[in-house]
Subunit: 140 residues, 2 copies
DNA sequence: CGATTTTCGTAGCAAAGGCTACATTTTCTA
DNA sequence: TAGAAAATGTAGCCTTTGCTACGAAAATCG
């Protein structure tokens, strides 16, 4: 066990999962850009996240090390199976949180922003409560 | 400009406010430890956040530079007025989020954890929706 | 085809927040 | 009060995620 990532421990969660959040954001974006233009380039992500292409390159390098992304020099970015799985999971969570915020009365614009921040910090249990309440509120 | 700029604007927020989140967490903790034992020491924060005392020292050094904390060598940590204000605001937000999660059915344990993650990403508008819905659900 | 523009890679720097190891100061206790 | 224990400080290193600057590769345009 190289990394003691025992997330069973409770207090550790809020701190150092930042890299994991970034990973989720990136694969989600790659997935969506793929669905849109059919391909994803470094410069697309740079524009989307409003960072320099260098920052994107560095994050992508890490995601490649972690087996989430594949690409060749000057080539488009592709997700691995693991990358696609993470993207799908992120997208589902994102959607549940967003719909929940809309359902409780948050405006579309603000909900879009807050979802970005919240989605990485919602446990399975809370997510289920979100989904249930969204149904209830919509069922009215 | 192929992509709408709103995306970039949204992501800018989720990215680099980490230092501000840390500041809020720290002053909140300092405030609560103060309320508890009457004083707060580096080692208390180290235990609370489960990091080394060195990490705490470094964060505190930043918070001192930013005028949120005051302390003398080997002395206890004190909040400035600005620090207390931030702590109070953080505590209010924390409480609203926590009570909201409890109200929608999240267990106390999980709510405590998720609140830590969520509280820094909730806009004023969303917070107001949380508060309103909590009232409604409790009013039943 | 050549030239320009766009995209990408690399080098090097900074800030935050992690760590260990070791020195120092305070505090506790025998 | 002397010595041990606890707390704090300092030095030095790492990783992530930012940046600018500059050069190389690809794509586009004339």
């Amino acid at each position: 066990m190289l990394e003691p990532k025992t997330f069973a421990d409770q207090h550790r969660r809020t701190r150092s999962d930042h890299a994991q959040e970034t990973a989720a954001d990136y694969v989600e974006a790659i997935d969506q850009l793929h669905a849109g233009h059919g391909k994803c380039r470094v410069v697309d992500l740079a524009r989307q996240f409003d960072v320099s292409h260098v920052t994107v390159t560095k994050v992508i390098a890490r995601l490649k090390r972690e087996g989430l992304v594949i690409s060749e020099p000057y080539g488009p970015l592709e997700l691995t199976d693991a990358g696609r799985q993470l993207a799908a999971k992120s997208r589902r969570t994102h959607e549940i949180v967003f719909q929940f915020l809309r359902a409780i009365g948050v405006s579309e614009k603000v909900a879009a922003i807050d979802t970005e921040g919240i989605e990485h910090h919602v446990s399975r249990q809370t997510l289920e409560c979100f989904r249930r309440l969204t149904e209830q509120l919509q069922g009215k």
